[in-house]
Each structure stands twice: as C-alpha cells, then as structure tokens.
Amino acid sequence: MSAPAADTAVPARFKPGDRVAVRSADPPGHIRTPWYIRGHTGTVERLCGAFPNPEELAFHRPGLPAQPLYRVRFPQAQVWPDYRGPAHDTIEIEIFQHWLEPVR
C-alpha cells in the first residue's frame, strides 16, 4: 500500500520523543486502538507515515484525509498494574494521531 499524497494527509502533530496520552474514548465502530492502551501515556518512537483512517475504511469510505500513524512506546509496568517482569520492559503499539493528545 502506498502512502497517499501529502495534500490528502493531516499534518503530523508529534515527533519522536514527544510524550502523548491515548484518548480514553469508546466510540462505536471499527477501532484499531486496543482497549488496553486507552488512557495510557507513552512516548512517540517514530512516525510511520500517513494512512487512510481505518475507522472510515471499515464502512467503505475513502478514509481521507489520511491520518498520521505513530509507534508509541509504553512501560509495561504502567500498562498492567500486575505486570510481572523488570521495570525496563516495554510495549510498542501503532496509534493514529486522532487518538493521541499532547502531554505537557
């Protein structure tokens, strides 16, 4: 799949190293933000490009403008209160920009 042209994509708000919070939302439909990560705070690892919004694609709509997609890294101990493993363990998840909010 090739990324859409820049003029059909939403500009990227975040850069690697930025702290971001995943929205705690529960909209209906086809959502690709896993439930377990909603409400958690992580760090942008990289911008993967911009892709048509899967929440729109699921209903046969074009999904444009494309949404920037990030890899966000979270400490496992923060995601799972009962996590059994060293504090340095991490999880990385792809999250679309419209699910992320800046953390000051």
Binding site: M1, R32, T33, P34, Y36, C48, G49, F51, P54, L69, R71, Q76, V79, W80, Y83, R84, G85, P86, H88, D89, T90, I91, E92, I93, E94, I95, F96
Partner: protein, 221 residues
C-alpha cells in the same frame, strides 16, 4: 481397542484384517460442518465467477502465490543482514525496500524490522486480529491467531515465551510489538555464537519462522 484379540509388539507385516480391527476414519474435510464465513466465501466466490468478474483460475493462482511464500524468505534476509553490515543498516531503515533488494515482493506491506541484541528481545503479536508479514513469512501459524497468544503475550510475554522454551533473563528488556495498523513486523534475531565463518545459506537454515516472530532464538544443531 480389543487388545486381547490384537496383541501389540506385532510389526504390521502380517495381513491387516480390517474386519476385526477397524481403524477410526480420518474425517474428510467435507465431514466438518461449514461455518458462517466459509459458506459466505463459497457463495461470493461462486457469484464472482458466475458474473465473470474473476475466473476460477485466477483464484487458484492467487492461492498458489499465497502458499508459495515461506519463512525461508525472511531467513534469507536475516542471513544477509548477519553477513553484510550495510545490508543490515538498510534492512533496519526500510524493511520493505530491503526485501525487494533480495527479489522478495513485499510491495503490499510496510515492513519494520526490529533487532534483538544482548540487551533487548522483541516479540510480535497482533492483539486485534492476526496481522503478520505474510509476503516475508507466509501464512501465520495457528497459535499466532489464537486468542490465548494474542491476549497473553502482551501482558505476560516472559511467561508465554517460557512456554515456548525461551527464557529471557531479567537484565534483557522484553519489548512487545502490537501490530495494530498498517505496519508489519519482522524480528532480526541475534546471530548465535559458534556461527563464525558460516556462509549465508548455512546461516539461513538456522533462522526459523518462530525466531522471526520472536518467541524463540536461533539454535545450533
């Protein structure tokens, strides 16, 4: 089983009388009940063929291409990265382009390659469905698609890896990659000690599918 009538320690070279010793019948594929989506697939496929939108041969060819993809392709990429530092740098920078470079058609996916080191072990999952780098590794194993793997490896990866026979020491960071959107992931395992001087083909032979998902590590012999 009628053990008395049919003592063990025989060698099966004698006449095999099926009248007194019935084998359980291996069910044919058609003996299983069809699921909702299987019926849907058959109905849509037949309709598409009937309407002349696709041909039966095109569907057969597409399945043949899917089945022709095997983990040997990923293993070639790993072995090249182990022997050629410049290729490794390109692989980590752009996995899809590095696959194309070896003649592996990865145009349909954006591949991210994550490197295992002495201090970091990566494992891949798709908690939402079963996203998998199919052009590089072929079809995923059944366990990769199971609810148990998908739900457990994100929250207790070390315990799940132990069940695969893989112990990750506590001084190594365990990093789970949840493949939730448009990227696909391939683990670049660490080259094992004792493989110095091996050529690419010999190296590729020790790189299994499971190493490239991250549930195990390459082993010698």
């Amino acid at each position: 089983m009628a053990n008395e009538a049919h003592p063990h320690h025989h060698d099966h070279a004698h006449g095999h009388d099926h009248k007194t010793h019935p084998h359980p019948k291996q069910p044919d594929l058609e003996d299983q009940p069809l699921g909702y989506y299987q019926i849907m697939e058959i109905a849509v496929r037949e309709l598409l063929i009937e309407k002349g939108i696709v041909t039966a041969d095109e569907i057969r060819q597409a399945l043949e291409v899917i089945d022709s993809r095997t983990p040997a392709m990923g293993a070639r990429m790993v072995a090249r990265a182990w022997t050629d530092p410049a290729y490794k740098a390109r692989l980590l920078a752009d996995g899809s382009a590095a696959a194309q470079e070896l003649g592996i058609d990865s145009s349909e996916v954006k591949l991210i390659v994550v490197e295992n080191t002495a201090k970091l072990h990566n494992v891949v999952v798709c908690t939402l469905c079963s996203c998998y780098p199919r052009p590089i590794l072929g079809l995923p194993p059944d366990w990769y698609k199971s609810r148990e793997y998908r739900s457990r490896v994100v929250r207790e990866p070390r315990a799940v890896l132990r069940e695969f026979g893989t112990d990750i020491p506590d001084d190594v960071e365990m990093r789970v990659h949840d493949s939730t959107a448009d990227m696909r992931y391939l683990v670049l395992p660490e080259r094992p000690k004792g493989t110095e001087g091996w050529d690419e083909a010999k190296l590729a032979a020790i790189v299994s599918r499971d190493c490239m998902i991250g549930v195990t590590k390459p082993r010698l012999g």
